[in-house]
Amino acid sequence: MALAVKQKEKAWGKVLDAGLDETIKKLTPEKIEQVIKKALEKMGPGRLKTMVETCIHCGLCSEACHTYLSNDRDPTFAPVAKVKQTMWPILKNKGRVSPEFIRRAAEIAYTECNLCKRCSMYCPFGIDMAYIILSVRRICHLLGVTPLYLQDTAHSHAVTMNQMWVKQDDWIDTLQWQEEETRGEIKNPIIPINKEGADIMYSVIGPEPKFQAHLMGQAAVIMNVAGIDWTYPSFDGWDNSDMAMYSGDHEIMGRVKRAHFEAAMKLKVKKIVMGECGHAFRSIYDVGNRWLGLRMPPVPVIHAIQFYYELLREGRIKIKKKFDKPVTLHDPCNVIRGRGLHEMARYVTNALCEDFREMNPNKEYNFCCNAGGGVINCGPPWTKKRVISNRVKAEQMKATGAPIVITPCHNCHSGIEDVIKYYKLGMHTKFFSQIIVEVMEIPEKFKL
């Protein structure tokens, strides 16, 4: 216990975060106990308790975790150690733990685990560490102890149904503006808004309209050239992302997912195709839908990797000249371990690029970017810790010698860019869509 509460003095020093430091001041052991007791009742003792009691403390999951490997095998970063420092004492003491304990538990749950589930593949019992850590986060949310930046994002979801405080009119403006921008790329592009009965609703994450609108322009190029009958909603529900899932605010997560599904059903589309984002896929396919009582998403969700795969395989987009710089591919946990798109990702990479070099390990066994699971959304205070805790990724990428890392996920994209910068790897991240637009053939009809 003493060890668990002690703040680790690491290269990143003690990280201050008002979302943790200020909020624990309002807690007392009695209040904590009361909240946790109620939470544990609701979580259902079944899965959580079974997993905690089955764990034989063998430590075989340790090497699965990039944070453990990157911190010179610091035992406190082993997956089981994260549970030991959080859920075990909580269960053992039936919720009677100190505010300082909660602060440390929150730091572990929010900034030291990406819920990437790699360790579940290495534990002989398949113990679902992500579920246990998410349960710790749920408790922290109920106690109001969450990293400030992540909480702010959850607030944005609650108000706007999107991740970035994008106002309703700003969203519409972005759609129209991007159509104008795309006119510089191809002839007469259309970004259809509220087209009822289209085949596909295309959805993005809040940061795209906020900071990376060009990605929406690139998506429009691909959609137009491939002749896809698609649309965006003008109304809330266009954002597929969900940081409330990661902060532990299930109710807001459910509300955001409901808005997303209802937007698709209102538009009478047959499929939702989403941009290159991993956690958003997880929130729709795996977590948010379940909270709502939906066994599977009511409208199928297709991740961009699969969408591009289908377009390329069926010749809906053709390649003019393959990308000639060497590339490597980062497998985003949430759509590889979370959906099995690794072979498709390789098909797409090989179709687009001349020189593809695998990282090792790869596919389902790939290391997480250490940005996922809401960790990057905990914001600047935690950046240093995040990049230091993913040295293995840096080593893995460096070994490929490729200057370009394809990262078909927003969190991976930004997180890996940070890792590259910190370790001075001289590489760059790219989305598939950026490469596609660069190498695709523009049919006569769309030539300017």
């Binding site: 079944g46 079974t50 764990c55 340790s62 579940s120 398949g126 959906r339």
Partner: protein, 225 residues
């Protein structure tokens, strides 16, 4: 003390009621744990709809075959030790001649038995595996960090029946009667401990494996091994 251990009263207690109690607690206790686990998981609603027999079996098979999973391959020493340990731990007592004689006497049932010399070797394997695990817990930092006294206790609970059985068989250290009585006592403790300690992993482990196998295989279309 030794006198007492050797006394016929103790023998008749450990050979009689204690064996009964041990098996009852083990079987009824484990069944109850399974029942409670399944019914609470059912109430959670989110587990059973994602279970798949096919992917449960796929996952379990990969993990019960030595070197059948990536992690087993990454840790050859542990894999060999743990498989030998568990095989010997489970099968030695079941197919042990002495045990078969006893339950033939008590309940009139018996089956194929191991040659005594082989049983002896298997017992030694368990004993040395326990020693291995003991030192691993102390030496390997990632294991040490998550080790509680209870982990050593569980190890001891696994260790002692084998040690005492071995000593009794060879009639070493203590008079035979005393050692047999001690052995039965520790054997009973182990059986009784199953439903109340993390030894429950011998039962729950199959279920957690099946669940993860189903989620990974059926829902997410990936391997979990």
């Amino acid at each position: 003390m030794l006198e007492f251990l050797m006394s016929p009263a103790v023998y008749s207690f450990v050979r009689g009621p204690l064996v009964w109690i041990a098996f009852l607690v083990f079987i009824v206790g484990s069944a109850y744990r399974i029942y409670v686990m399944i019914s609470t998981v059912k109430k959670e609603k989110l587990v059973l709809p994602y279970m798949s027999l096919r992917y449960s079996i796929r996952s379990i098979l990969h993990w019960v075959i030595p070197f059948g999973s990536v992690n087993w391959r990454r840790h050859p020493v542990i894999t060999i030790v743990t498989f030998l340990f568990h095989i010997c731990l489970v099968f030695t007592p079941i197919f042990l001649l002495s045990h078969n004689i006893l339950w033939h006497e008590s309940w009139g049932i018996s089956w194929w038995t191991l040659p005594e010399s082989l049983a002896d070797i298997m017992t030694l394997i368990v004993i040395f595996s326990c020693v291995f695990f003991f030192f691993r817990r102390i030496i390997a930092s990632e294991v040490r960090f998550v080790t509680y006294p209870s982990d050593f206790l569980i190890l001891a609970i696994a260790f002692l029946p084998f040690l005492t059985g071995f000593l009794a068989y060879h009639q070493w250290l203590l008079p035979h009667e005393a050692m047999v009585n001690l052995h039965i006592l520790f054997g009973a403790i182990m059986l009784i401990a199953v439903p109340f300690s993390r030894i429950i992993h011998m039962i729950f482990g199959w279920f957690t494996r099946a669940y993860t196998g189903s989620e990974f295989g059926m829902v997410r279309h990936v391997r979990d091994y």
